[in-house]
Point group: C2
Chain length 475, copies 2
């Protein structure tokens, strides 16, 4: 099997029982011939995720119903071929990629929202709906689904649940698992189970809903989800400020809370991120901008106004300069442009971006970023840090050239050092991207052997034949 971080990127098409003609014939019976893709050019879009390493599946199946998914799993257990579920395919750790071959189940056609209940504050949806479409649909009914991973316009809600996606609003609203109250799941052996239900409170049996969230498609395939909703906040405001140092910027974070404000988002950019967007897009930041903070508040119009003023005062008192506070939606969008500009601005620093998402207790972010700068120098790799200061989840981007094996090796060494230091600070190696195959070599840096053994024993109990998403999480 290929390991991204060991330097082997992708590989040719695998060959398992999934390629046997009689198996393909039965798969065509199950989902319909037109929903079984085997041609090289047809399966190619299902071969990679945002990591961009290609592992072409032997076949892509596009079921419409839970029963079809269950039949596929039954056959896979009978004939022993790997099955990997795929949502939008925009993950950063290869969770949806069939590294050991077999079939990919694309949930593209399971894309109906079944019920939006604004009175009882839930939505029932199939897994193939994009996060954005779901948000738009519920907001039209006056209700709110808070989790918003950066890829929300293309990620599927099923993938969000499988990866327990985070996002910018998690500083106030938490992560995907805090909103999942019920699931229909096809188990690795092809049984259909229902976990949780329509209510937030539910303590009937073990919390399989909680276990499936973030299980990276290894313990079941989500075929329906019930998500808890909130009343839609009336409005939002944003304050932006630059600081001389990351320490000054991050010191503001607990001060918002002490002033009894819980910002919906607290995003930070380090000096390299600011310099990169400045070079590319000329926002007008000076050379003294060592860190940038974006703070958003939401709620009723009147309290949002007051909270924004409090945030402005906190950042000014904390050494912030070039402070801006939005008064309108348009102004707010402009303040956030700098955050959206990072990814395009990074392109010129290399064809390969090691986009890691370490997390530490938020007061340790300045130490983390300072050390990552040193790590970048040590391994001669350009690094940009930005991310969610409100919950200590920093996106560390080591940039290099994909075709330069020596630079790739140095970048990988920098990633390993960053993981080690994150754990040393009381944090861990992934806040929202998951493990997949990309971070599997580092799992034991974050978890003890007994903890990993407990996880493996659960995997074996539910998937005795190792059918679902093999080659992930555990080496």
């Amino acid at each position: 099997m290929s390991r991204h971080h060991e330097g082997i990127t992708g590989r040719g098409r695998a060959r398992t029982a999934a390629s046997d003609e009689d198996v393909l014939a039965r798969l065509r019976e199950i989902v319909g011939a037109e929903n079984v893709l085997v041609d090289e050019d047809k399966v190619e879009p299902y071969a990679a995720d945002a990591v961009k390493e290609k592992f072409p599946p032997e076949a892509v199946l596009l079921p419409r119903t839970t029963a079809e998914v269950a039949s596929i799993l039954k056959l896979a257990n009978e004939r022993r071929f790997p099955v990997t579920a795929r949502g939008g395919g925009v993950g950063y750790t290869g969770g949806a990629v069939p590294v050991e071959g077999g079939v990919v189940i694309g949930t593209d056609r399971m894309n109906r929202i079944r019920e939006i209940n604004a009175d009882d504050l839930y939505v029932v949806t199939e897994p193939g709906v994009t996060t954005y479409a779901l948000q738009q649909a519920v907001e039209a009914e006056g209700v709110f689904y808070p989790p918003d991973p950066a890829s929300y316009k293309t990620s599927f809600i099923g993938g969000n649940i499988a990866e327990n996606a985070g996002g910018i609003r998690s500083a106030k609203y938490g992560v995907t698992k805090h909103y999942v109250i019920g699931l229909e799941v096809v188990t690795p052996t092809g049984e259909v189970i229902r976990t949780g239900g329509l209510t937030s409170k539910n303590v009937v049996g073990f919390d399989l809903t909680g276990l499936i969230c973030g299980s990276e498609g290894m313990l079941g395939i989500i075929t329906e989800a019930t998500l808890r909703l909130l009343p839609l906040p009336e409005t939002t405001r944003t304050v932006r400020a630059t600081f001389k140092t990351m320490a000054e910027a991050c010191a503001c974070v607990p001060r918002f809370n002490r002033a009894r404000v819980t910002p919906v988002a607290i995003e930070v950019l380090d000096r390299n991120a600011i310099a990169a967007v400045e070079t590319e897009f000329a926002f007008g930041f000076g050379a003294d901008a060592g860190a940038l903070l974006l703070v958003s508040v939401d709620g009723h119009a009147s309290e949002v106004e007051r909270d924004a003023l409090i945030c402005e005062r906190v950042v000014r008192d904390g050494g912030g300069f070039d402070v801006m506070r939005s008064e309108t939606r348009e102004e707010e969008e402009r303040l956030w442009d700098v955050r959206r500009a990072i990814s395009p601005a990074l392109k010129k620093f290399g064809t390969m971006k090691f986009n890691e998402d370490v997390v530490v207790p938020r007061s340790r972010v300045p130490e983390l970023v300072a050390r990552i700068e040193e790590i970048g120098k040590l391994h001669d790799t350009f690094v940009v840090n930005f991310g969610h200061a409100g919950d200590g989840n920093i996106h560390v981007n080591f940039m290099c050239d994909r075709d330069d094996p020596e630079a790739m090796r140095r970048a990988r060494a920098a990633v390993r050092d960053t993981f080690a230091f994150s754990v040393e600070l009381g944090g861990t190696i992934s806040g929202e991207h998951g493990i997949g195959y990309v971070k599997a070599p580092y799992l034991d840096m974050a978890l003890g052997a007994a903890t990993i053994d407990a996880m493996k024993s659960i995997k074996r109990a539910l998937d005795p034949n190792g059918i679902l998403n093999p080659g992930k999480m555990f080496l």
Copy 2:
């Protein structure tokens, strides 16, 4: 084994290898002789929970450290005797009760709060701290732990996690599992594992933290917990109103949200609950009071004032009368007195209270309560309904005399009918009490066979010898 709902209440002391002298000698070595209780009068306080059925343990162990707990579990696996963990022992489904004998591990001495970090918004605590003590300790630092089960003054935080406790504030703040970010757990086989960590965002491996929450002491013993905190709200206000009907009262619930208010608590009392407290304590409710709503809001002083006014308008527009709105903390306490009066007022209706905690989508509460009234009449059993209207979690109290077997039989029939109708309405048989041995006979009314099988396979994988808390959840 005794089954509460089958009419056998409690039983004599069991006899397993835990009573062997050499085992007791080794247990004394592990925790110290003074922390091994075997005398009948000493173990008696550890024999029952709020269900009040006695299952005396063969020995009670009071360890101080994680290592001691692990050693007990290793010995239990070697010699095959049951181990049941116990917190405050105030559960309603027998989760902490050793129905198959063996030892009880009391976490009474594991009662230190290890770290309160107000900047990074977490607390690290041992399991034997009461919920109330934890809340007081963190509030002294300006931070807030929202979950507040009714028994919070005596329940232990370890038990809250094991049962995924709910409470009054869950309408706004969710339940215990939404606050647990890290655990140290001794597995059923005596391994020490750490799950999660100090950060809210953490997607490294399967979410064992989520699985252990609500696992009722069957998958591990919690020896340390890290809980997420929030900034402490500045103040609270309460609005109380009576209504002619339950339907009118409950119709207000979504209207609060539509008015962009998320009350911290929305509690409801049915006509029988009002009549009971009126008879006993003379609050001054008239015969036309068919339902009572208590609505609390929290936050900044200014928004609390506004939100309370909005709630007052909603209940008035919705047919509420005798509307009262607190202006001070003292007034608020007086408004809540009626809720606290229910339990004492019920005492005269019978020595046995079947306190069930069904949950339905909140718009279905009026249907549920109407049907429960009919069920009570059908089975000639007095019933009182009250509870958490904000999340559809209703406490159904069928009252009868513990010494009247016929009345007990009728009450049990009423409970079963109530469970069936709750499931029919899209709800389930427990919102916050769990299953334990009390609701085990009804588990298959709420969950399908494949779902139960998945749960059992996880139990077997982690506890191959069936050591931890046997006789619970599954029949």
